[in-house]
């Protein structure tokens, strides 16, 4: 994998010169599945489409093995909607399958009157009257829940043979639905874990509002149990995203309806190249520690040359002091000249090699220092991303001015907006490289990662600088810069962001 990365990087360097010859068309022809590490095949579906999809699966299972559609739903829900798996398990051991899915009670524990163990419906005073063998005096039977006698046709039972009157079942269902429980509604008998299938619920619950609630909640349960389906996390959005690549991957998903961007696997903000567990760890850590970090990394810094106080008011890390005209890097406060030409070092954290010999106190200090190093950069890019919006507004006003002064047409300036969009995309990825690096074990792989991270950082800063100062004549130069930055980004993702589950790097 890393070998690929190296050659790709060279490719991007060489490509720099014959950029105009190769052109964009060439890139378009390549299969995106192989070249784009962020490529993810998915579809945005409406509720009706998903209902149809699930119903098709129910029918499919229904034709393969002979069970009612509502039992098929229970089995599918239990087994991640994998028809083949259910069929093979069913052929192997149908009884076992039905017992583990809690459709049937465990066989050794059939609640026949004589063995009804422990305290299950066994109240001494009325158990004799509630048994299926009715009292000799009348045909009426006593329902153990409402303690009232009914005719036998008023009773209903599940596979477990626990019989209760229909009114009590209906009451039970409504109470459960009211608490948001649907697919997990169980039998009313003590210690019985048999689940109630959908058809019985819908037969007995008559209030339309409760029926609707049941169907709504059950649908949510079904979608959540289907590995390829995800609800869009956007507020009030009803779109359901379906992964069409047969795998659950932490890939970027954008809802067509509300434009919410999220990770398909965990539903949080997209976080490549970091994986789902690590980003959760990192975000929790930041939530715990951010106050200290905020305090330490204040919003202003002094110019390293003339010590005038400088506030960062744009996304770019290339600072240009208004006072003394000194160019420096916002992150490391080093001279910018060293950043442009050679190796961009300030994204790399240098660990103290003698740490093992230091005291616990010093180790804690070192741990905090390490965390702050990564946190500061993470936070810096997050702030820069927010400032990018201001930059975009500024670009708009600048373009307006230029167009008014007849320096090029509106169309001539469009490339600047593309550049700003790409800049935001790159900065987003770069932001999420810091939690990844923080949790990486030191070693050659981390060195490689930080090398690529530094490269990406350098190109992004170049791009940011150029976007803020571009003229119409700079089109070629800027497009070049855009291409280089994007290539750095994809190279890094290709090497470190898992494109399949199997090579997930943690």
């Amino acid at each position: 994998m890393s070998g690929d990365g190296e050659s790709d990087m060279e490719y991007s360097d060489n490509d720099y010169d014959d950029y105009y010859n190769s052109g964009d068309s060439d890139v378009d022809q390549i299969d995106p599945k192989k070249t784009d590490p962020e490529y993810f095949d998915y579809k945005c579906l409406l509720v009706e489409e998903v209902e149809k999809l699930l119903n098709e699966l129910v029918e499919k299972l229904n034709t393969r093995i002979e069970i009612t559609p509502s039992l098929a739903k229970v089995l599918l829900h239990e087994h991640g909607w994998d028809v083949e798996k259910i069929v093979s398990k069913y052929r192997e051991n149908s009884n076992g399958l039905l017992i583990t899915a809690r459709v049937k009670p465990p066989t050794n524990d059939q609640p026949t009157p004589s063995t009804s163990s422990s305290i299950a419906c066994s109240s001494s005073s009325w158990s004799t009257t509630n048994l299926p063998t009715t009292s000799s005096l009348s045909l009426h039977r006593l329902c153990p829940v409402c303690a009232t006698s009914h005719l036998p046709d008023k009773f209903e039972k599940l596979a477990c043979n626990h019989s209760f009157c229909k009114d009590c079942w209906a009451m039970h269902f409504e109470t459960q639905i009211f608490q948001g429980i649907t697919t997990q509604i169980g039998c009313m008998a003590t210690k019985c874990n048999v689940r109630v299938p959908e058809d019985l619920v819908l037969n007995l619950v008559t209030r339309s509002i409760m029926r609707e609630k049941y169907q709504q909640f059950a649908f949510r349960d079904y979608v959540k149990s289907h590995p390829e389906l995800r609800f869009c996390p956007g507020p009030n959005c009803n779109i359901i995203v379906r992964s069409t690549s047969c795998e659950v991957l932490p890939k970027r998903t954008i809802c067509e309806m509300c434009q919410t961007q999220f990770c398909f696997k965990c539903g949080m903000d997209y976080h490549a190249p970091t994986n789902c567990q690590i980003i959760r760890k990192w975000l929790t850590k930041c939530a715990d520690d951010s106050e200290t970090a905020n305090y330490i990394s204040a919003n202003t810094k002094d110019c390293p040359n003339c010590h005038i106080c400088i506030e960062k008011n744009g996304g770019c890390n290339h600072m240009h002091c208004f006072h003394c005209k000194h160019d420096f890097c916002w992150m490391c406060l080093g001279d910018w000249k060293n950043h442009g030409s050679e190796y961009y070092e300030c994204s790399r954290y240098k660990e103290n090699p003698n740490i093992a010999n230091e005291s616990i106190h010093a180790q804690a200090r070192e741990a905090l220092k390490k965390y702050l190093h990564y946190y500061e950069r993470w936070e810096n890019h997050s702030k820069s991303l927010q400032l990018e919006q201001q930059t975009l507004d500024r670009i708009k006003t600048r373009v307006n001015e230029k167009v008014m002064k007849a320096q090029g047409t509106w169309i001539d300036w469009q490339y600047l907006f593309n550049a700003a969009a790409l800049l935001a995309k790159c900065r987003y990825t770069l932001q999420y490289t810091y939690p990844y690096a923080y949790y990486m074990e030191p070693g050659s792989r981390k060195d490689l990662f930080e090398y690529q991270q530094a490269n990406l950082e350098a190109e992004i800063e170049n791009l940011s600088w150029k976007v803020e100062r571009a003229e119409t004549t700079d089109l070629g130069d800027l497009e070049n810069q855009m291409d280089v930055a994007e290539k750095r980004r994809t190279t890094l993702l290709k090497d470190f962001f898992p494109s399949t589950v199997s090579n997930t790097f943690t």
Binding site: I119, A120, C121, S123, S124, S125, W126, P144, V145, C146, A147, T148, H162, F164, C168, M171, H172, T175, Q176, G186, C187, M188, A189, T190, K191, C192
Partner: protein
Amino acid sequence: MANIAISRIKREFKEVIKSEEIVQCSIKVELINDNWTELRGEIAGPPDTPYEGGKFILEIKVPETYPFNPPKVRFITRIWHPNISSVTGAICLDILKDNWAAAMTLRTVLLSLQALLAAAEPDDPQDAVVATQYKENHPMFMLTARHWTNSYAGGPNKVADFDTKIQRLKDMGIDENQARACLSKENWDLEKATESLFS
């Protein structure tokens, strides 16, 4: 109150009164008011446990959706047990929460609570302080539970040493219940208890 709830409670009431356990004096249910929404239960401490010989009073509130939702039960008698709050009497028992089944009755609840007194589940605690003592200093837990049974539930077994220590704190002007709770928490270390009470 819904009809089902009332007819159920009436019937269950009779059930408990007729049951064999009442003959053995191990469980009891009494009415508190006329509308059947509040009852008072009583269970005897099971034999061979530190609760032996004690009578524990329970508050039972019957919700309107009974028996589709569980009754709300809490200990009125103070008790030292990992699954019961030593402060409020709140109970952590699965059948009073998610594992309730509509076919269960007051009798099954009372019997289950009795079973809980006989077999605590310290890994699913309601009272973390008690649970820690149960796991880390079991003899101390047994003595404390016995002492609480003696003090609050009329149990016959006195723990003389504990009574002396409580008296010492009472002499300093501390309320008896507060003194007992604090000493129990501090594993009956008088010095530590005094420190935490006066700090």
